[in-house]
């Protein structure tokens, strides 16, 4: 039969599962800066509060990165399927757009940059 200790364990387990939903499925913090990686090198790290445009050249052509209204996006990229552009505006810390043909990664980071740099 189920004992009291069992009931306690099951309750705690339900609590643990529920708290992982609350903890891990909450939306990320707003991003504050953008990091652009081309090949293996970080080529730019800029704050998101200044609107500007960057042109990153890679093996396939030029990827245009646009920064505006606290977000960044891939405005144009040589990839034939537009995967980089379709990632849209990156606003939440951890969002990223990737152009594989041009070997460019556009990633927005939050204030807790330690966590991001450790995990990406």
């Amino acid at each position: 039969m189920i004992t009291r200790a069992d009931a306690l364990v099951i309750l705690l387990a339900c609590g643990l599962v529920a708290s992982t939903y609350a903890w891990l499925w909450s939306p990320g913090a707003p991003a504050s800066q953008v990091r652009v990686i081309s090949g293996n090198e970080e080529v730019a790290r800029l704050p998101l509060n200044e609107a500007r445009q960057l042109e990153i050249s890679g093996p396939a052509g030029i990827t245009v990165v646009e920064i505006a209204d606290g977000a960044a996006r891939c405005a144009a990229s040589p990839g034939s399927q537009g995967i980089c552009q379709s990632a849209g505006w990156l606003r939440r810390a951890g969002d990223m757009a990737v152009s594989l043909p041009n070997r460019v990664i556009i990633e927005v980071l939050g204030d807790e940059s330690e966590f991001d740099s450790m995990n990406y």
Partner: protein, 169 residues
């Protein structure tokens, strides 16, 4: 050459064989998501723990992970390491719970504990070694939900089996 074997060795071998059979049978079932499977071999581990103690349970589980992977063909592959990490964590949790709570916990509680510990162990290894990306964390709640459900299912089975095995209890 013949090795001297004890009665306990034979018992461990029989129980491990049973656990391996369950493990291999289960590997044949398709899984909806990587990492999710019922973990029915858990039932054997928990029952051995309750009936014969932690040392036997550790032997049976260790042999099951090792020989099971040899039979399925995943020995030393990522699957094997995930399985081993899960088994290690679940054995640690079971040992601790058995030590602290003793008879207060029935196989039901032990199975739930073991299932969650197994999932956490293999998830942490996967996150640390194979896919160190924060997005993987989004999967954890789903995986834990399934392990809770399967823990309850295997717990029910273990309770029913224990009743058959020791009618006096």
């Amino acid at each position: 050459m013949q090795l001297a074997t004890t009665r306990e060795d034979h018992l461990i071998a029989w129980l491990a064989a049973l656990a391996i059979a369950v493990h291999v049978l289960e590997a044949a079932f398709p899984s909806p998501l990587p990492g999710i499977k019922p973990g029915l071999a858990n039932v054997i581990t928990v029952l051995v723990l309750v009936l014969y103690g932690w040392r036997m349970a550790a032997w049976v589980t260790g042999l099951r992970v090792l020989a099971g992977s040899l039979v399925i063909g995943t020995f030393l592959s990522p699957t094997f390491w995930l399985s081993a990490a899960g088994a290690l964590c679940s054995l640690a949790a079971l040992g601790l719970a058995h030590c602290l709570a003793g008879r207060a916990l029935s196989p039901m509680g032990l199975c739930v504990l073991a299932a969650l510990a197994h999932m956490l162990g293999q998830f942490l290894l996967a996150w640390w070694l194979f896919i160190p990306h924060a997005s993987l964390l989004k999967l954890l709640p789903v995986l834990l939900t399934f392990s809770l459900i399967f823990g309850l299912v295997s717990g029910t089975m273990a309770v029913l089996m224990q009743r058959r095995l020791s009618p006096s209890a």
